[in-house]
């Protein structure tokens, strides 16, 4: 029996076609994944399933339990939404009302659709909060969303989705904003919910690994078209479409280790950075870090949000001054380093480029600072070197794609001829194919220019590909450091083990093995 049948779905915004003839079926109680990069039409599809588009033209058929959803009026839609099809959104912080308690929001939805009493609705809210493993559900129902962590907020949203016992849950990038260990917990929870309640799941993600472990079938979308669909194991194991193969290849994969015995270039000894707070304990963002970055190597630093990654990057580049300890570059205190010798590539290339200046001018700045009179030709050479055309000099950041902007960010870091480049999450906002290109570029540049690189990321798969050595950061401390191959093969610290078990992988069999491993590590205890 099928819960959802989509036939020849077309979604247009004016003249732009977002989805162009999409068809798929979702059997009752099963899980279907829709995978695609940004602009592939996967979110537009999700919104269409709930009739949430306001300005789009929708053609085709969407059948849900023998009900044709395409012809519903507002009132009929409202009876479906939340009651029979429930949606879980990407940003758990903004997706819940900041003015109402978690319990009230869940109870409101339940009351609306069931007509239950206030008392009964409140009980149902506590019940579903317990079902998603919120500790002390009766007490926490009275909390506001801002008092929950990111993972708990996403659990609360899933609880809200469960409240009316829907037939179908649509989850649109439910884990994208979350840390990797929390992501694993949420995916495990969705899986558990499906098993225990028999509801169907439509999981939308840009990440093949997320879908691989959770879905029976998968649809690969590109520019509004389904390029391939079928059993997850078949599609991901033996893809027939060129784009699916490209996606799979673009996913980061381990590279043979390089041995590097270079002399230490950047040395950190007992470095601490404490941020003072009014009337509170200072925040110990970086707490007693000692490490060497060897000349010519790529050191990966991995950690989840709030572990002090970015603070450490800023200390290494001299943008922040440490509270204690020493940082030296080639034996010289970092504060007295030669100009331009350490450069940084930032996470978000859009916000780290001045929107009112052309990208050429932005790249020329560090050159002018070091006394180059007419830097235009040098900048154009750099643009070419990072894979952009010389004429891009006169364009503005908003005219470029995300990948192009990050290339600009790299060109700007290269401009003054640095010895060390610190990259802070340089590929985390990019689509997977673009990410692969930018990683390849960084690799090339390092070889060619003999750069030393510190690469900071939350993504263990990316680091495994690019880093020679890896340091694992937790609560401002380095809990483990070693050669990449060794850390990944035989992690010593429990936190490293936990991280590694949480990494989503595109191989369905491996994904299931990891889920079992996580259960055995008992990560589903409610630490999010």
């Amino acid at each position: 029996m099928t819960t959802l049948t989509v036939e020849n779905l077309r979604i247009r915004f004016g003249d732009t076609v977002a989805v162009d003839g999409l068809s798929f079926e979702l059997p009752a109680g099963s899980a279907l994944g829709i995978v695609g990069e940004s602009g592939s039409g996967k979110s537009a599809t999700a919104l269409a399933l709930l009739g949430l588009h306001t300005s789009a033209t929708i053609e085709g058929r969407i059948s849900f339990d023998d009900l044709d959803l395409t012809g519903l009026n507002d009132k009929q839609w409202r009876q479906i939404r939340g009651a029979r099809i429930a949606m879980v959104f990407q940003e758990p912080l903004t997706a819940l009302s900041p003015f109402h308690t978690i319990g009230d929001q869940i109870a409101e939805v339940y009351r609306l659709h069931s007509g239950a009493s206030r008392q009964a609705a409140r009980q149902r809210a506590v019940e579903v909060l317990r079902q998603v493993h919120i500790p002390d559900p009766a007490g926490r129902a009275a909390s506001y969303p801002h008092q929950f962590s990111g993972g708990m907020r996403q659990r609360a949203l899933i609880a809200m989705a469960l409240a009316c016992r829907p037939r179908l849950i649509v989850a649109d990038e439910p884990t994208t904003a979350l840390d990797v260990t929390v992501q694993a917990q949420i995916l495990d929870l969705l899986d558990e919910v499906r098993e225990t309640t028999g509801t169907s799941l439509l999981l939308i993600s840009h990440d093949l690994g997320v879908v691989a472990g959770s879905c029976d079938r998968v649809v690969v979308m590109r520019r509004g078209l389904a390029v391939e669909q079928g059993e997850t194991a078949a599609v991901l194991g033996a893809p027939t479409d060129a784009y699916t193969r490209e996606l799979l290849q673009a996913a980061p994969h381990p590279t043979p280790p390089r041995k590097n015995d270079g002399k230490p270039l950047l040395r950190l000894a007992g470095v601490r950075k404490h941020f003072k707070q009014r009337r509170r304990e200072p925040v110990k963002a970086v707490d007693d870090v000692t490490l060497d970055v060897r000349a010519g190597e790529t050191l990966g630093i991995v950690g989840e949000s709030g572990t002090g990654k970015t603070t450490l990057a800023r200390l290494m580049t001299g943008l922040l001054t440490q509270s204690a300890g020493t940082i030296t570059l080639d034996g010289v205190d970092i504060a007295r380093r030669p100009g331009g010798s350490v450069q940084m590539v930032f996470q978000d290339p859009l916000s780290s480029l001045n929107p009112r200046r052309t990208i050429g001018e932005s790249i020329a700045d560090p050159l002018r600072l070091s006394g180059v009179r007419d830097p235009r030709s040098r900048v154009e050479d750099l643009l070419e070197r990072v894979g952009l055309a010389r004429r891009e000099y006169d364009r503005y950041p908003h005219q470029l794609s995300g990948g192009m902007r990050q290339r600009v960010g790299i060109a700007r870091a290269l401009a003054p001829g640095p010895r060390l480049i610190v990259c802070d999450e340089p590929v985390s906002s990019l689509d997977v194919t673009t990410q692969a290109q930018v990683l390849a570029l960084l690799e090339d540049l390092r070889e060619e220019l003999g750069l030393t690189m510190v690469f900071i990321s939350h993504d263990l798969a990316v680091l495994r590909q690019i880093a020679d050595r890896v340091a694992v950061l937790a609560d401002g401390r380095i809990v483990e450091i070693g050669d990449t191959a060794q850390v990944y093969a035989a992690p010593q610290h429990p936190y490293t083990k936990e991280l590694l078990a949480a990494v989503p992988v595109a191989d369905p069999a491996e994904a299931r093995r990891l889920r079992a491993l996580r259960r055995s590590l008992d990560l589903s205890d409610t630490k999010s």
């Binding site: 949430l52 939404r81 949606m87 959104f89 003015f99 506001y144």
Partner: protein, 329 residues
């Protein structure tokens, strides 16, 4: 919470002291001499010196200020011919002009100003939020355009023009209302409202414009937020989404603005008070400034400062009540 209030009160005291110090400094620097004005025409140098002494302006400014502060905290005695008269704390001194205690003058006029401010704010909030919600929900349709036009007109028209037109229409042409003269609320509530109606409307015109704009922007901004999309995705009716979710976020900035506007109108609605002949605090201030009546100027300014600080504190507490994310520290 209690710590927060203590800090706020402490801050307020500091602000008020700073304010009075500044006023004394400015007054000292000013070239005019209140004694000459008080002494009048044909004033002999001896007489002038006597007046100076009586007013207390022959002391160095630091001494004057010290006396003032002592009066404020503990009360003080003034020479009045052979005898002395006692001015109990909080003593703001006696008006140079009328010789009445400044506290008395303020207490007489505060109810007038408060009546004016409260009525005008109630009117402005009702009309402003109503118009803002309507136009926010009908963005770029004809209703929104009309409201926007009216809002701009409201901003542009000076209050005295609105006031004069209202007087002309309702008191002269139609004769529906009496020429305003203040009747205390406790004497006759109906007459109080009838007399204050036109000043309220005149003042409310500008405030309404500001509130409508803010509400419109707030509604649009909140309606675009993710949690509104969630509410829709869970089948909540549009009306409920607007009243229970969107409006709450949209009205937050109004809390602060309203509180400060209230305090401001109470002490500085000079034009309105003058036009409608209302004996309010604003009028008192203008008269006192013209007559270099230092005690009154200081008194009114301190009152204004006190009201603004109090309004801000109330706004913060209200904000805390409306938005659970706000922490008072």
């Amino acid at each position: 919470m209690i710590g927060y209030l203590v800090r706020r009160v402490g801050g307020a005291v500091l602000v008020l002291f700073g304010l009075s110090l500044l006023l004394y400094g400015l007054f000292y620097l000013a070239p005019s001499d209140p004694a000459i004005l008080t002494c009048g025409k044909g004033c002999t140098p001896e007489r002038l010196a006597e007046v100076r002494h009586a007013l207390g302006v022959d002391d160095p400014v630091a001494t004057q200020y010290a006396h003032f502060v002592r009066g404020l905290v503990a009360g003080r005695d003034y020479p009045a011919g052979p005898a002395t008269r006692h001015c109990p704390a909080p003593c703001l001194g006696y008006s140079f002009e009328t010789d009445q205690p400044v506290t008395r003058l303020l207490l007489d006029r505060l109810p007038v100003s408060a009546s004016l401010a409260l009525g005008a704010e109630v009117l402005a909030l009702t009309a402003g939020i109503g118009a803002g919600v309507l136009s926010g929900l009908r963005r770029y349709r004809w209703l929104d355009r009309i409201v926007n036009g009216l809002v701009l007109a409201g901003y542009a028209v000076p209050v005295f023009l609105v006031g004069l037109l209202l007087l002309l229409l309702f008191c002269v042409q139609l004769q529906w209302l009496p020429f305003p003269s203040y009747v205390p609320l406790t004497t006759d509530p109906l007459a109080w409202a009838r007399n204050l109606l036109l000043p309220w409307v005149a003042l409310a015109v500008i405030q309404t414009a500001a509130y409508a704009r803010l509400t419109r922007a707030g509604i649009q901004e909140t309606l675009a937020e993710d949690h509104i999309r969630t509410a829709r995705a869970y089948g909540l009716p549009e009306r409920r989404i607007i009243w229970r979710r969107a409006l709450r976020g949209a009205l937050l900035p109004l809390v602060t603005l309203t509180a400060i506007d209230l305090a401001a109108i109470m002490t500085s609605a000079v034009l309105t008070e003058t036009m409608f002949g209302l004996p309010g605090v604003g009028q008192l201030l203008v008269g006192a400034v013209n007559q270099i009546d230092l005690p009154v100027v200081v008194g009114v300014t301190l009152l204004a400062g006190l009201l603004i600080v109090a309004a801000n504190t109330v706004a913060d507490l209200l904000y805390r009540a409306v938005d659970p994310r706000v922490e008072l520290r």
